[in-house]
Amino acid sequence: MTDQFEPVIIGFTCNWCSYRAADLAGTARVKYAPNVRLIRMMCSGRLDPTFVMKAISGGADGVLITGCHPGECHYIEQNYKALRRFILLKRTLTQMGIEPGRIKLVWASAAEGVRLATEITKMVEEVRALGPLNWDHHNGHQPLAISHQPEEVAA
């Protein structure tokens, strides 16, 4: 690979739509940027803002949140709650001086493998353009030591 900056992006996916979209992208051999690492949850409604904080403080350069299209939630309406949290979260992060472009919400149904892949590649390029998240992880200092286990502080 080239020596250009390779961002790391943590992606939260919904078990019913976007995770299956990722599977579909796989079975259809749709190519996308390898910079994203996905986590499966039962529903985008499960997304605890602290997860995002954790990812960012842990050195992720961006966070991708995905869920079912509005009105298509497997649990009726929980993706709307995810949406609300996302908007709030985005505002908070912006206040902390984190570029809004580093966190993104994408709706992707189980049938939209190609779309998910496109969105991922797009976001990777956007974050690459933003460059590394501008605080230093080297000395183990964590600006946001958010954790449900206080002792679990990243080295």
Binding site: M1, T2, K31, Y32, P34, T121
Partner: protein, 204 residues
Amino acid sequence: MEEITVSIPDTVKPKPIFLEEVSMATPGVSRLEMCIQCGTCGGSCPSGADMDHTPRALFAMIRAGMRDEVLQSNAPWYCVSCYYCMVRCPQEVHVTDLMYTLKRMAIREGYTDHEAAPDFSQTFIGYVEQYGRSFELGLATRFHLTHSPLRKVGIGTLALDMFARDRLSFVPTRIKGMDGLHAILEKAKAITHDAELTGGTQLL
């Protein structure tokens, strides 16, 4: 990271095969590769009956790399730009745009010495490059004098009717910014010329 993006790489290969060449030289996305040979274009074409090859056949020949046969074909010159083929194509191939591309290639590669259509186009743009506006009378007369002197009589009577109703002018209108337009077109042609030399197919 081109190789792992889902978008089609926007790179000009040094020696593209004929199919790629035609597709690339077409503005926007031609979708030529997507043709399923159903013949909707050939069936829809108002002048399809006069073409030596239907658009569909041309596309098959392009795939087969039959460069000479394709560029010698009269089909593009019979295209009346009605765009029926383009809106009806089940694969959304930009048929009409491709016909323009083939015309340009044919002219550039000297396949069209005795065609009427290219000369008409040449004459037409001749006036545009000279005045910035088209000039019907000049166009009609000059073109027909060189091409079908026999018909110019008929055209003549037609022209008279037009005069009688003040629909034809003797003198072309010349735009103020002619120098500017001239500079623009010269520059454009220069760029095109470079592209021809460097094989920048996409610009041709």
